[in-house]
Amino acid sequence: MKQIIFLGRGGQGAVTSSQVLAISAFIDGKQSQAFPNFGVERTGAPVRSYCRIDDKKINLREQLKEADYALILDPTLTKNLNEKITSLIIVNSNKKPVDLGLQTNAKVICIDITKVAMEKIGKPFVNISALGAFAALTNEITLESLEKAVLQQMGAKGSIVEKNIEAVREVYKISKNDLQK
C-alpha cells in the first residue's frame, strides 16, 4: 500500500488534490481512499489531506503517521511536515531542495507549480496541476487517468477545467524533464 500526505493552506485545495488522486488511481484499476485531516476549515491555515492506494480493498481507517510520499503545495509549510516520509517529497517551490531546510531521508524535488499555474490558469491554483508532478515523479498514476479524474471531479466547472488540464500536462512535462537532469 502507498500512502500520500498533502500539505496546503486552507483554500488552496489540498483536500481536492487527495480526492482527485484517489479517483485517478481507481481509474487505473487500483483501490484508493482519500480523506482530510478532519477539522474546522479556515482560509490560510495549514491543511492536511491523505490518500491511500493499494491493489486490494483498503480497510484501514486510522490516521497517517508516516507516508511514502508528501506533496507540499505551499513552500512555507515544509516545517509543518511532522510525518516520516520514506520515498519522495514534492514541493511547489522555485528554490533548490537543499535551501528548504527539510530534515528527511526521503528524496526532495522542487517544481515551480505556481509559475505554471499563473501561465496556464492565470491564478495560483496549484492543487490539480501538482498532481501532474506526482504522476510524473512517482508513476503511481498515469497522466490519462489523472485527466479523467480531473474531469470527474471538476466536470461542471467550465473553462477552468481545461486550463487545469493544460497546467497538469505542463507540470507533468517539466517534472519528467527534471527527472532526466
Partner: protein
C-alpha cells in the same frame, strides 16, 4: 447503469436516498452530515429527484416535519448528527410509537460539551432506548446498501418502525473511496412502493399521536418491543434478499463474524473501526494468535442470541465502545455482558475514540494484548 466510482460517503448516502425516491425531505444541516442534504437539494433542484425539500428552522422541526410527512403516508428522509439528534429527542419516541417507518441518517458525532465536531457514538447511543432500529456501517458501500435495506426493513408490516442508519462522521461521511451505485430499476424493485394502511385522510379520518391513559400506554410500548423482536428476523431476511439481488451482504444482517471459527479471543466493535481491526486480526493471525472480530451492525434490536452463539466458546471477549455511559461503562459492554451472563466467557470493556481520538492499530492491538493476558479493560487514550 451499474457504476463503481470513487466518491464521498455523503454523496453515496444521498444517492442511495435518491434511488429510494422519498417524497419529503425536511432538512436542517449540521456537521458532519451537511453534505447529505446539500447533495439531495441539488438532486431536487436539477430535477433528478421529485421530492419536496423543507428547509426547516431546527432539527426539532426537521423530525416534526418528518413525522408529519409520514402521517400523510409518504416515504421521507432526514439526516442529522450530535446536538441535532439531541434536539430531536423530544419527537424521536413519538415517531416509533406512531409506528412510522422513517429512515434517518446519523453522521455519528460527539455530543457537546465540550463542543466537538468529531466522531464518536454518544449521539445515537443516547437515543437507543427510543424504539428506533439502529444499524451501523463499516464503509461507504455498506452505508449506501444499508439505506436501501433500511427502507425495506422499516416498511415491513410486522416491523413498522423507524431506523437510524449510523455511519462515523468524517471518517465515513468525508472519505472518498470506491462505491458501487446500483441501477434505479433494481433498487425500485427491491425496495418496493410504500403503501401504508394508516395515514391522514379526510375521507377516512383517523387519530394519530393520541393521548394514552394508563390502561393503554403500556400496550403501546409492548407493541414496539414486539415489533423490535420481529425486526430481528426481518433484518436477517432483508440482508439475505439483498445478498441475492446485489451479491453483497453483511454477515447475517445483525452481526458479522470475522475469523471467528476457531477464535479464542475476540473484539466486538460497531462502525468504521472494524476496518482497522480487520488488519490487526490479519497481523495477529500471522503470528499464530487465534483472534477474531464480531462486527455489531444492529445495536437495536440487540442480537442477543446471535452474540451468545458467536462468543460462548471464547476465552475472552473485549468490547470497544466509542461512547461511555458516564458513571458506569460503555453501553455496548454492559449490554454484551448481560447477553452473556450465563456463559463462561470473560467480557472486558474498552473506551476509545471519544471526540474524534484516533482508534489506530496500536490501540486495537493493545486491547487484544490485555484480553489475551486476562487484564482489566482500559481507556484506549
Amino acid at each position: 447503469m451499474v457504476e463503481k466510482k470513487v466518491m464521498s460517503g455523503s454523496e453515496a448516502i444521498a444517492l442511495a436516498v435518491k434511488l429510494c425516491k422519498p417524497l419529503v425531505l425536511p432538512m436542517y444541516p449540521i456537521t458532519p452530515s451537511t453534505l447529505v442534504p446539500e447533495k439531495l437539494s441539488e438532486f431536487v433542484a436539477n430535477g433528478e429527484l421529485n421530492a419536496q425539500m423543507i428547509y426547516v428552522e431546527s432539527e426539532h422541526s426537521a423530525i416534526s416535519a418528518l413525522y408529519g410527512a409520514y402521517a400523510t403516508g409518504v416515504r421521507s428522509f432526514t439526516a442529522t448528527a450530535s446536538q441535532g439528534l439531541a434536539l430531536m429527542h423530544e419527537i424521536i419516541p413519538i415517531v416509533s410509537a406512531s409506528r412510522f417507518p422513517a429512515v434517518m441518517f446519523i453522521a455519528n458525532r460527539a455530543l457537546s460539551g465540550p463542543l466537538s465536531i468529531w466522531n464518536d457514538h454518544s449521539d445515537s447511543m443516547s437515543e437507543r432506548d427510543q424504539g428506533w432500529i439502529q444499524l451501523f456501517c463499516e464503509d461507504i458501500q455498506e452505508a449506501f446498501d444499508t439505506i436501501i435495506m433500511a427502507y425495506k426493513i422499516a416498511e415491513k408490516e410486522n416491523v413498522s418502525l423507524p431506523i437510524m442508519v449510523c455511519a462515523d462522521g468524517f471518517i465515513l461521511t468525508h472519505v472518498y473511496e470506491p462505491v458501487q451505485i446500483e441501477e434505479q430499476e433494481k433498487i425500485t424493485d427491491f425496495v418496493g412502493t410504500y403503501n401504508p394502511k394508516d395515514f391522514l385522510d379526510t375521507k377516512n379520518p383517523k387519530t394519530f399521536g393520541a393521548f394514552a391513559q394508563p390502561n393503554t400506554y403500556f400496550e403501546f410500548k409492548e407493541q414496539v418491543q414486539d415489533a423490535m423482536m420481529e425486526a430481528l428476523k426481518e433484518i436477517k431476511n432483508v440482508n439475505e434478499e439483498f445478498g441475492k439481488k446485489f451479491k453483497r451482504k453483511y454477515g447475517d444482517g445483525l452481526i458479522e463474524l470475522i475469523e471467528m471459527q476457531d477464535a479464542e479471543y475476540a473484539l466486538l466493535i460497531a462502525g468504521s473501526t472494524i476496518g482497522t481491526a480487520r488488519e490487526v486480526v490479519k497481523d495477529l493471525r500471522k503470528k499464530g494468535k487465534k483472534v477474531g472480530l464480531i462486527k455489531l451492525k444492529s445495536v437495536r434490536p440487540f442480537p442477543t442470541k446471535e452474540l451468545i452463539l458467536a462468543s460462548k466458546k471464547l476465552k475472552g471477549l473485549g468490547i470497544i465502545d466509542r461512547h461511555i455511559s458516564l458513571g458506569y461503562e460503555g453501553a455496548l459492554c454492559t449490554e454484551t455482558k448481560a447477553a452473556l451472563v450465563k456463559e463462561k466467557v470473560n467480557v472486558t470493556g474498552f473506551i476509545a475514540g471519544l471526540g474524534g481520538r484516533d482508534i489506530d492499530r496500536e490501540r486495537i492491538r493493545h486491547a487484544f494484548d490485555l484480553i489475551i493476558n486476562g487484564k482489566e479493560g482500559v481507556w484506549l487514550k
